[in-house]
Symmetry: C2
């Protein structure tokens, strides 16, 4: 019977890597053993842990040759050799990889445990289903927070101090607030237009909110589709085409709502027509910005998850207001 497979204790792995989240224990067997010998070895030397859900077949240098689900080994004829169960088609992950990659692999291949190897292919640990659930939960929380313009928290909402939460929130809020002066500048530039027709001011909120909302919808759809692998980075042209068509029909629909309101509630058909045209253009623009921004952010090596509605809103606001007032000035010649 071989000696125990002791995991080596090294320096702690950097946070966010697979190494920082794996279990150091594992069930390791050798190619030449029978199934009965392998199970006997695991029984003798294994430490109770979900990391035993995968049986790792190693060569004499402790390099990973194959990974078999424990259930497969249990189901096999005890007299069979481990060699006979092997197909050398297995999934493993490098110890220095991003922890997010581990859950993507486990999800894709429906694994309950994933072997972790170092740069020379030597087995160093196992990511269990329990580890994966935790990682997935943390990553989802981070993405939600980023999309709402919150710098990711280290601890939960309940454990974080007011001061910590303040710091995580104020940075983005101030940036977005300062960026909001672009919109203020646009309105200031059209003060004469507004003074001549104060009625225009009442359409500002609904126009910029609709732009922000459609843009955030497109961005969310694209970010999530990229994250789950439903879209890949080469499909940006397809996304443009789709968001163009979608922008036109959404813009016309929302424009129609605004036209009716403009006509019935105030101003009559002329104001109705101006806000209809403005809404159509703004929604189209917002749709394109929302659909493309995730690709641009990835291209710039930034995290696409920050393309949440606060960022989209701020981008679309100033340009949307410019469109609105240019149309109004041109139409009413004021």
């Amino acid at each position: 019977m071989p000696t125990e497979d002791n995991p080596k204790i090294g320096p702690p792995a950097p946070a966010g890597t697979v190494g920082s989240r794996m279990e150091p224990g594992y069930a390791a067997v050798r190619v030449g053993w029978t199934v009965a010998e392998s199970l006997e070895h695991i029984r003798k030397f294994g430490v109770p842990s979900e990391s035993l859900d995968v049986v790792c077949v190693l060569d004499e240098n402790r390099r990973l040759l194959d990974a078999l689900p424990l259930s497969e080994v249990v189901l096999a004829d005890p007299a069979k050799k481990i060699e006979d169960l092997m197909d050398r088609e297995y999934v493993s992950i490098g110890v220095a990889e991003d922890q997010e990659k581990a859950i993507r692999k486990m999800r894709q291949h429906r694994l309950s445990a994933l072997p972790v190897v170092d740069s020379s292919g030597v087995l160093v640990g196992v990511v269990t289903a329990g580890d994966a659930f935790r990682i997935a939960e943390e990553e989802t929380t981070e993405d939600f927070h980023k999309k709402a313009a919150i710098t990711p928290l280290e601890k939960g909402y309940n454990e974080s101090s007011v001061w910590t939460l303040y710091r995580k929130r104020i940075v983005w809020l101030s940036l977005l607030g300062v960026a909001g002066f672009l919109s203020a500048g646009v309105i200031a530039a059209f003060e004469e237009t507004i003074a001549a027709m104060v009625i225009l001011a009442s359409f500002i909120p609904v126009l910029i909110d609709s732009g922000g909302n459609t843009g955030a919808q497109s961005a969310t759809l694209v970010i999530r589709a990229l994250a789950v692998g439903d879209l890949n980075l080469k499909q940006w042209l397809k996304v443009i085409r789709r968001e163009l068509v979608m922008g036109v029909i959404l813009g016309l629909s929302l424009g129609a709502v605004l036209f009716l309101m403009g006509v019935l509630w105030r101003g009559g058909p002329h104001v109705g027509l101006v806000v209809f045209m403005a809404m159509t253009c703004i929604v189209l623009l917002a749709n394109l910005v929302g659909g493309l921004l995730p690709f641009i952010l990835i291209r710039l090596k930034l995290d696409p998850a920050v393309a949440g509605s606060p960022v989209i809103t701020t981008i679309v606001d100033a340009s949307g207001l410019l469109i609105f007032f240019l149309i109004a000035r041109w139409y009413f010649r004021i």
Copy 2:
């Protein structure tokens, strides 16, 4: 040796329930057996599947008595009785429960497989880690979409037709657009104030965007904390207290930015003071609305995930504008 444990085939389970996502196969053993007998039974009758990761101990009526990780059974002395391994402390889930509950349990107890029982406690299947990863991914996508005011898609972005996506997006957009007329109404009511001081109009976007952004931050922090169990429903008073303090300091900070801009860029100290007061009140209000809305939605048996920034923005806009113009009218006596 006992006979095979055949899963019964019944009518298909309703979508979204645990029953619709479980694997029908499982590893079932009886209390009186030894570990060796149990493993032998699994080897003979088990079908290769990750659902074997948990060994279910049943009574003579096929009711679940305990659930042991397969690794624990493999590690045990073969001569031992299954009875000796049992502590009757196990986690299972009802077949009619919400699929989201299954992943919450598996995450909490770090399980790679979860037994599913019917209303009389009879074992009917197992949710595997692979199932759980899929469910978690779908639920996360749904939550992201809801927060961006998109009715959840049945298929991915790439497979959905433009017409389907249009329907999923236009409903919320129209509702929010129509609700936006509340803000239009507020501005219309203050047209004389604006006509007297057009400069006020240029602060509309930055005031309502900051309100929307802070509200969305609070809502996201609270929704996510509730979802991962970091907050419970009884802690709403604590959330109010926190968001009150946070609202005051965030409001004062952002108000200060706006004051500086008001003074330096346009209008001088009087306009600066008015926008400072308005910003402080709006951010405080938005923080309270964002922090409380998830609790209110849950109380109304609605999904808190819809409290995303579009909904918050629409609520905060009209009230924020009202605050702004009331302060301006009072201060400038116009």
